[in-house]
């Protein structure tokens, strides 16, 4: 029995949704900047699961889903790189990576 028959699409989608929400939670709740970036990564990867599921279950012949997932991985990596570089820069000046400590700009 192939996976497609054993596991309904909705289960996979639910898994992806749960992961997405965990990531969301992480972004909103975590105080440390690194934690926020983790949450973002989790969100993006949850979407990847979604994409692959859709591809596999609905349109296995076209590679659009796979390609898109690859793109997302790449962009996520680029964003993470830039984000971490920024965190380092901030740490150099302020010695903190707590998001709430950056409040120079407000109002």
């Amino acid at each position: 029995m192939s996976m497609i028959d054993a596991v309904p699409l909705s289960w996979v989608l639910t898994l992806a949704a749960i992961l997405f929400c965990i990531g969301l939670f992480g972004v909103i709740v975590r105080r440390s900047l690194i934690g926020v970036l983790f949450g973002v990564e989790l969100m993006l990867n949850a979407v990847n699961i979604n994409l692959i599921a859709f591809w596999r279950y609905l349109e296995p012949n076209l590679v659009a889903g796979q390609v898109f997932a690859l793109f997302i991985i790449t962009i996520a990596a680029a964003e993470a790189a830039v984000g971490l570089a920024m965190v380092i820069a901030v740490y150099r000046t302020r010695r903190t990576i707590v998001a709430d400590d950056m409040r120079n700009l407000q109002g």
């Binding site: 997405f20 990531g23 969301l24 972004v27 900047l33 926020v36 970036l37 973002v40 969100m43 993006l44 949850a46 979407v47 979604n50 994409l51 599921a53 859709f54 591809w55 609905l58 349109e59 076209l62 659009a64 889903g65 390609v67 898109f68 793109f71 997302i72 962009i75 680029a78 964003e79 830039v82 984000g83 920024m86 965190v87 820069a89 901030v90 150099r92 000046t93 302020r94 998001a99 950056m102 120079n104 700009l105 407000q106 109002g107």
Partner: protein, 474 residues
């Protein structure tokens, strides 16, 4: 055997010029000595002008390439030219600013080029994946540009906030694309549009939800409410030329993309997305214009003002008609000119080490420099929508389009918020015309800055007096 698809080079020519130029410039920059980094900027300017020339040359071209994922038509060409104009003017404004603020690094020009390339790609995209890619390119370059003034804490903070919000929004964006892909089986707009009528039941729901998330992902970049919270902080903290560039160019590209997605891809679902967008536009207008009323920091005020302008810009897709598209292009052009002129004035008055850009610095400007005051006046009056500037025609055209589309409440709200906006725009002018409240801040009048300011101001006037040629091309 791999068969390469047929590529229509006339469509990608502009992109090739920009990306090619950017890459070459990145390498060239290594060879340019540290004190002469201005050369990079001028070379970037040349690349931008070259791309604009190519764009004008291919102005009548219409077609698709790369399997239908990249498309060119008069609307895309026009918005692309607006983005290029914004980039050129921003480079002109930034050339000497960078040196003054000791952040003269060659990467600036390269980043701007990549950014504008991303914008062009976004405008010309006809496929959601390409849109995502280009949006990511554009966003990441702008994150770096926002933090360009490091180690200044405000700039770093701006960049970080921008990145966090951007990454967050990207999550929603891709989720939305995934849902759309799941519902329609494709990410190309044309195919999605074709599949539209056949969507029933839960697939329709997925498509609609996906569209909404997609709009969220795009809309945050255009400072739509409630995704606007980054705008005041980022505009305030980023170096002023970067703020200028961001405020106009990214909005233009994103709104063009939004228009394509909504009108081309999901015209079928118009009954669903139009009311929601109308509410979003209304909220954007209100928050933007009301928020600016008590700002003492000019850059923040311009940030809120640009949120308000975004609300107006959203009227274009809502109107969903040829009139709306025409009005959108015109509005983008006018708004670009006006905002860049306003920021140019700020750049002319900004010395190193200033933290808050307070309104008092503009007081008494009339006595010190009538030229700057004139540029400022033209810019603010155009943003407020006072005839005979471009902004008036733009607002009028937008309101007309929305009225014809059947949203009288939006028209009324647009007019009311314009009236509120006039309050804070004119207040700045009054301060500028009044007595000086602080010691005279330094004024910088080097020729690229002046040229940029003059061109922007000229555009405001010319578009205001002779709008016809730009208003009716679709």
């Amino acid at each position: 055997m791999i068969t390469l698809p047929v590529i229509d080079w006339t469509i990608v020519a502009q992109l090739l010029v920009v990306f090619g130029g950017a890459t070459v410039l990145l390498l060239l920059d290594l060879a340019i000595p540290a004190g002469r980094k201005q050369v990079t900027a001028y070379l970037a300017l040349l690349v931008v002008l070259g791309a604009a020339a190519v764009g004008v040359m291919h102005a009548g071209v219409s077609g698709a390439t790369f399997g239908g994922t990249l498309r060119l038509d008069p609307f895309r060409t026009a918005v692309g030219l607006v983005c290029l104009a914004a980039a050129a003017l921003s480079i002109l404004l930034a050339v000497t600013f960078l040196g003054r603020h000791q952040i003269e690094r060659g990467e600036f020009a390269v980043l701007v080029l990549f950014g504008v390339g991303g914008m062009l790609l976004l405008v010309q995209a006809a496929d959601l994946v390409v849109m995502f890619l280009s949006l990511a390119l554009l966003s990441i370059t702008l994150y770096v540009l926002a933090g360009f003034a490091l180690p200044e804490p405000r700039s770093e903070e701006a960049a970080l906030k921008y990145l966090l919000t951007g990454a967050f929004a990207t999550g929603f964006l891709v989720f939305g694309i995934a849902l759309i892909y799941g519902a329609t089986g494709s990410t190309t707009l044309a195919t999605i549009a074709a599949a539209g009528p056949g969507l029933t039941g839960e697939y329709r729901l997925y498509a609609a939800a996906g569209l909404l998330l997609l709009v969220v992902g795009l809309g945050y970049k255009a400072s739509l409410v409630p995704f606007h919270m980054w705008t005041p902080d980022v505009y305030d903290g980023a170096p002023t030329p970067v703020a200028a560039f961001m405020s106009v160019a990214s909005k233009a590209a994103v709104l063009a993309a939004l228009t394509h997605v909504l009108l081309v891809g999901f015209g079928e679902l118009r009954a669903l997305w139009a009311p929601i967008l109308a509410v979003v536009a209304a909220a954007t207008l209100l928050v933007g214009n009301i928020g600016a009323l008590v700002q003492q920091n000019v850059k923040r005020m311009l940030a809120y003002s640009s949120i308000g302008q975004a609300g107006f810009l959203l009227f274009g897709p809502i109107a969903a008609s040829d009139r709306g598209i025409d009005a959108l292009v015109f509005y983008l052009a006018g708004y670009t000119a006006a905002n860049l002129a306003a920021f140019a004035v700020l750049i002319a008055l900004e010395a190193r080490g200033e933290t808050e850009w307070s309104m008092a610095r503009l007081s008494g400007l009339w006595q010190r420099s009538p030229g700057l005051t004139l540029a400022l006046a033209l810019a603010l009056l155009s943003l407020a929508g006072v005839p005979p500037t471009a902004g008036f025609i733009a607002k009028f055209a937008m309101l007309d389009a929305v009225w014809q589309a059947g949203y009288p409440a939006l028209v009324v709200l647009g007019v009311v918020t314009s009236a509120i906006a006039a309050a804070y725009y004119l207040r700045v002018l009054l301060r500028a015309a009044g007595p000086a409240e602080t010691d005279a801040p330094p004024m910088f009048g080097d020729w690229p800055l002046r040229l940029g300011m003059a061109l922007a101001a000229l555009a405001i006037v010319v578009l205001g007096l002779a709008p016809g040629w730009l208003l009716s091309f679709s």
